[in-house]
Amino acid sequence: MPTFFLPLFEFLSAQLDFLLPRKYPIAEKVADAPTISLVSITTMLCCRPTELYLGASTSAQILELVVHWDNNVFDEALITEWLDEVKNAIDYYLGEDSVQTKL
């Protein structure tokens, strides 16, 4: 069996509105307007040692990026550089200007 080096960089992405509906109660037959609305969702996690963990989730049409890292291993300047790069790449490849390109 080959040896695998664990990746130091993990990435999570999800459209959370399908996992966590924003209006409650959510039964379709309830006649009244929803009484509870989910306003915001926050991702909390503890990454593994040596890990840089970048996550993305979408809720209410808002894309949120989160980053977690092992502070014993990474400098904050590097974290900022990675996060900015991911943010800029998302903007370039998935932003409004990219819509006409996806065939």
Binding site: M1, P2, P7, E85, T101
Partner: protein, 182 residues
């Protein structure tokens, strides 16, 4: 990922030897996948889908070399080029589809469960042995080194993943599940 590595090379933080090696290697990656749908259907239908347990395997995929495009001949000291110089939007979608195709073939492999039954116990045992060692010795195993390995040294020992990706899959499928269970 490619542009981040290119930044480091242009800043003089990656040697010519390392860079030439990295430029020619395919990009390997992996991600966890939900194994529940492939388990015993009676268990799944009886509540297995909601049972609290870890039931994941991993899918693996590879992309061609780093998409450096016209930046492949840049030398240290040069400015970092824009995204379009490395990877056009069309090629971004091409590479995205390559991953989707490979993932699709992987989960439709008729030996998917068998592949997992061969590979996963090794992963579990590695993690278990480290945890037991840590509990016994109250610290890391002796003989470990934090020597930095070159990309070539790492690759000589096996596959090196450039990143790992987690996905919640097609979460649209979960909508009905939640509607009926809450």
């Amino acid at each position: 990922m490619t542009r981040l590595l290119l930044r480091r090379y242009l800043r003089g933080e990656i040697s010519e030897e390392d860079w030439e090696f990295r430029k020619r290697e395919p990009m390997a990656s992996a991600g966890p996948m939900n194994l529940r749908p492939f388990q015993d259907k009676a268990w799944l239908d009886a509540g297995g889908a909601k049972h609290v347990c870890v039931s994941i395997g991993f899918f693996y995929f590879a992309l061609p070399t780093m998409p450096l495009g016209t930046a492949s001949s840049l030398q240290p000291g040069a400015d970092v080029p824009p995204f379009e110089a490395l990877l056009s939007r069309k090629r971004f979608w091409l590479r995205s589809r390559l991953i989707r195709t490979q993932a699709d073939k992987f989960i439709r492999n008729p030996l998917l469960v068998e592949l997992g039954s061969i590979m996963l116990p090794g992963r579990v045992e590695r993690a278990r042995s480290v945890a037991l060692q840590w509990r016994k010795e109250k610290g890391a195993p002796a003989g470990l080194t934090d020597t930095v390995l070159s990309p070539m040294e790492q690759a000589s020992a096996g596959v090196v993943f450039c990143n790992g990706g987690s996905s919640l899959g097609n979460v649209r499928l979960h909508a009905n599940f939640l509607s009926t269970s809450l």
